[in-house]
């Protein structure tokens, strides 16, 4: 039987699942001993798209290519490469598509600013509608 108390418990657990974001696919053998470097690798991995699953980052993906890229990123960090150098290395090979957040460029201009335009249009419509209702 679902009592109110049970329901609250279940909802609480569900909520907890949302807060604890532990859906990474990093395997123990990949993790770097240096905690700072590992943190850096995790941060980069979260921004890199898994080209196989396409809507997951390589940090979350179990695809073999994602694992290869995670290891590659860690190796480059150990070699002392900067974050920018690593991103450039990846986009040189896979294009901007590998970045989960599209960079602001001429061809992504509409993607970034069209939502703002739609919001403005929305305000415009509300404003005129309001003006009209005031008259009546």
């Amino acid at each position: 039987m679902i009592t109110k108390k049970n329901l609250i418990k279940v909802l609480f657990i569900c909520l907890l699942q949302f807060l604890i974001n532990n859906s990474n696919a990093v395997e123990p053998d990949e993790i770097l001993a240096n905690k700072k470097q590992e943190m850096n690798a995790r941060n980069i991995s979260k921004n890199i798209r898994c080209m196989v699953c396409q809507n997951q980052s390589i940090d979350e993906s179990d695809a073999p290519l994602a694992k290869d890229l995670r290891i590659l990123i860690r190796k480059q960090i150990q070699e002392g490469k900067t974050d920018k150098e690593i991103y450039v290395f990846l986009t040189d090979r896979y294009g901007d598509f590998i970045l989960l957040k599209p960079p602001l460029k001429l061809n992504t201009f509409a993607l970034w600013f069209l939502p703002l335009v739609f919001v403005l249009i929305g305000f415009f419509i509300i404003y005129y509608h309001h003006k009209k209702s005031n008259k009546i």
């Binding site: 090979r93 896979y94 294009g95 415009f124 419509i125």
Partner: protein, 177 residues
């Protein structure tokens, strides 16, 4: 008058968006296919062991004389077997130089596989850990690249070469020649 037009605006926008979606739906396009970042760029520089000869495989040296096809394949990959007949057709019918890159595979098995199905490759580089594939921006084998006589990548196809793709690559090669 202006107000009336204004009320038509959302409807008009809706129709425009609908038309755009409809257009994207009917044109021949696969959103999951990503254009290669390497198009019109030189082939990646790499060195690997060769499966067929006792010498190392040196990347730019292999691509400087003629139009070359680069095919990423593995024996464990079923679509690679499906496209094999077309890869062979490129080598025999078109007299093309075809280079294979054996992706994360067992060399022993690959040699047996080629003995059974025929070998269209003039040279095969062994990519044990998938590093060569990453350099080429490969994300799912089989993948096939067309490289011109100057070592510039001109075309990339992801997935098995089918009859349609075979024809398309032939057209691209004809244009390059």
């Amino acid at each position: 008058m202006i107000k009336k037009k204004l009320y038509q605006l959302p409807f008009l926008l809706f129709v425009i968006i609908l038309l755009i979606f409809f257009y994207l739906l009917i044109i021949d396009r696969t959103p999951s296919k990503i254009p290669s970042a390497l198009l019109n760029k030189s082939v990646p520089v790499f060195e690997a062991n060769s499966l067929l000869i006792d010498d190392k495989f040196h990347s730019p040296n292999e691509f400087t004389k003629e139009i070359t096809l680069v095919n990423f394949f593995a024996t464990w990959c079923k679509p690679c077997r499906d496209e094999h007949i077309y890869i062979q057709r490129f080598a025999t019918n078109n007299q093309l130089k075809v280079i294979g890159i054996n992706y994360k595979d067992n060399s022993e098995k690959t040699i047996q596989w080629l003995k059974k199905l025929g070998n269209p490759y003039s040279n095969i580089a062994i990519d044990n850990n998938g590093k060569i594939a990453i350099d080429w921006g490969v994300y799912g084998i089989p993948e096939t690249f067309v490289v011109d006589s100057k070592g510039i990548i001109k075309y990339r196809h992801v997935g098995p070469v089918t009859k349609k793709v075979y024809k398309k690559i032939n057209m691209i090669i004809a244009e390059l020649e």
